[in-house]
């Protein structure tokens, strides 16, 4: 472990390689986290099934490629399919828990998460899947820093999708309705907004974001049925750090998390990377709570 750490500081190009690759992956986390922030802010639900939606999106691209479609077409396709899945999940389950105790919605989405995880395992098998986008790699600094074009593309597409949604929320009529509902659902209803439809659209948009993230994840990285929960926890962490209504913060925290996680995976070993993700979340929550307690004691 210490060997890896000293290696990391001795060879700056190696460090750059690890960090830049982490940042690129981080864009995918930011995309999923953006969706979680949206659902959290509008529906007041912590969507534990988030990661499974990402994984399902990845499987959509995987199946599309198996069927002979070009991998990059998988990106819009995953987003479209997961939009519908999100809509369906809202209509079937989420609308029943949306105004209930927040623990009920956590447990319900956790149940959905287990359901989808096991369903993916039963249907697609537990193998690790990936899709070769066939784009090659970019070598910098005599080949010490390797950037695959697909990761770069994933980075740009993730940011592009995030930006599109942000513009949509700013300027489109429905986007404004979504923001109004987030601010005050009762007032929004009085002013003639069909909040139930807004909730459904929000959840469906979240599904589309997850689907897009999953499609990028399967091209730039790998997926398997049990990788969903780490994506949920990453999204949760990013939203907790950045705040619910802070798009720039979500992007920055997502990229930072990607870099940090890649460095941790390098230093501690890849087998501890998931443990690092979950441990980091616990540390962030404890730290956040300690900061809040300090603030309270100032007030006294």
């Amino acid at each position: 472990m210490l060997d890896n750490l000293s290696l990391f500081f001795q060879y700056p190009s190696l460090a750059a390689d690890v960090i830049v690759n982490g940042l690129l992956i981080g864009a995918i986390f930011a995309l999923a986290a953006y969706g979680m922030a949206l659902v959290w802010g509008v529906l007041n639900i912590v969507n534990v099934v988030q990661g499974e939606l990402v994984v399902l999106g990845g499987y959509v691209t995987f199946l599309a490629v198996q069927a002979g479609l070009p991998p990059l077409l998988g990106f819009p396709l995953s987003a479209a399919v997961m939009f519908c899945v999100g809509w369906f999940i809202y209509r079937a389950i989420i609308f029943r828990v949306v105004d209930k105790d927040i623990f009920i919605s956590i447990l319900a989405t956790f149940g959905l998460s287990i359901l989808f995880q096991q369903l993916a395992n039963a249907v697609f098998g537990s193998d690790v899947r990936t899709v070769d986008a066939g784009l090659g790699s970019l070598h910098l600094f005599d080949g010490t820093v390797t950037l695959s074009y697909v990761k770069l593309l994933a980075f740009l597409l993730a940011l592009g999708a995030g930006l599109t949604l942000w513009l949509f929320l700013r300027h489109a009529r429905l986007g404004q309705a979504i923001r109004a509902t987030a601010q005050n659902p009762r007032a929004a209803r009085i002013l003639g907004i069909d909040t139930n439809r807004v909730y459904a659209m929000t959840y469906a948009l979240n599904g589309a974001l997850c689907g897009a993230a999953g499609s990028l994840a399967v091209m730039a990285w790998t997926i398997h049925p049990y990788i969903g929960l780490p994506y949920t926890v990453r999204s949760f962490m990013v939203v907790v750090v950045a705040g619910v209504g802070n798009v720039a913060g979500v992007v920055a925290a997502g990229l930072g998390l990607g870099a940090l996680e890649n460095v941790a995976g390098f230093v501690f070993g890849v087998e501890f990377q998931i443990a690092f993700v979950f441990g980091l979340m616990v540390v962030i929550l404890v730290w956040r709570n300690a900061m809040a307690a300090r603030k309270r004691s100032y007030l006294e």
């Binding site: 956590i106 287990i114 995880q117 501890f272 998931i274 443990a275 616990v282 929550l285 404890v286 709570n289």
Partner: protein
């Protein structure tokens, strides 16, 4: 029909039936001894979860950590202590219980200040992080898990031994918790659940109370972990010891199914859930985990008040 729901079973009658099942069950139904042992394990799971989730309002998804610590502590002690089976088991349970309580105090001091859904997700992370660390740690067998020593007695004796051990544990747990809920401490737990800030303002020392409650849950979970590990004979870091997606969720589900915050709810929930789960395993081979996921969603969405809550509603309607 109305009288049926107005009828209130005496606690002692239920206790007598359960005691009969616990004491005579393994002899009358030796083929089911393992299932009955698992049933008592589930009762311990539900009761210990309910102390925080039902009585204190802290919904933890990470109680499985203490179970896993118990599993691993027993396995390591029995591997390294170099004493006979039962001495090793006793020592392992003791070490497991102490470590679990210690972990509860440490985690509790850090995490019990976190409220609401942050606590729920935080503890979920705790459970999974523990499993991942165990799966990467060579001293405890890393991803391939640990095998426990063989039970020295005759074939079939092992199930009966652990069946009685777990029954005793579940019974002690139930009686102790029943007494605790009748004391001032039990009222303090409910006060924390109902309004944490007011409980603080009334002068309750909430932090020590919360830590003590979690440590008490951890004590029973740690012991049950050591017993369960020996009964199963093998621990896998993610599928047995820190099985967040099975045992970890079942704890929550059983307490909710029975009716959280009630005396008999967790026990009842454990019975109903365990039987359902065994049926799934028998008749839905290959799809049982999918069915369980569906069951969680259905129970939580359509039946959040639990069996006891439903009975109370029916009784109130029958009486009015």
């Amino acid at each position: 029909m109305n009288r049926l729901f107005a009828l209130r079973l005496n606690d002692w009658q239920i206790a007598a039936v359960l005691a009969f099942l616990g004491l005579a069950g393994p002899f009358l139904l030796p083929g089911l001894a393992t299932q009955i042992a698992f049933l008592w394990l589930m009762v311990v799971f539900a009761l210990t979860w309910d102390m925080l989730g039902g009585r204190m309002g802290y919904n933890s998804f990470g109680n499985i950590v203490f179970f896993g610590i118990g599993c691993y502590a027993a396995a390591v002690v029995q591997r390294d202590a170099g004493v006979g089976y039962f001495e090793g088991l006793g020592l392992g349970l003791l070490v497991g219980a102490c470590l679990a309580v210690l972990a509860a105090v440490v985690f509790g001091a850090a995490m019990l200040g976190i409220r609401g859904h942050y606590f729920a997700i935080g503890t979920l992370g705790l459970g999974i992080a523990a499993g991942e660390i165990a799966a990467g740690w060579d001293y405890v067998g890393a991803g391939s898990g640990m095998a426990l020593p063989l039970y020295p007695g005759e074939l079939g004796q092992r199930e009966i031994f652990f069946c009685y051990s777990l029954f005793a544990l579940a019974a002690i747990c139930f009686l102790l918790f029943r007494w605790i809920y009748s004391t001032r401490f039990g009222l303090a737990l409910n006060a924390i659940r109902d309004d944490h800030d007011k409980a603080d303002a009334m002068g309750l020392r909430t932090t020590p109370i919360k830590i003590f409650a979690w440590a008490l849950s951890a004590l029973f979970l740690g012991i049950s972990g050591g017993l369960a590990a020996n009964m199963i004979g093998f621990i896998d870091p993610r599928d047995v010891a820190f099985a967040g997606a099975t045992f970890g969720v079942w704890m929550v589900l059983m307490a909710i199914l029975g009716g959280k915050g009630t005396l008999w709810g967790p026990v009842l929930g454990a019975f109903v859930f365990h039987v359902t789960q065994e049926l799934f395993w028998t008749y839905l081979l290959g799809w049982q985990r999918v069915a369980l996921g569906l069951l969680i969603v259905v129970i939580v969405v359509f039946f959040p008040q639990g069996i006891m809550g439903w009975l109370a509603e029916r009784r109130a309607r029958a009486l009015s």
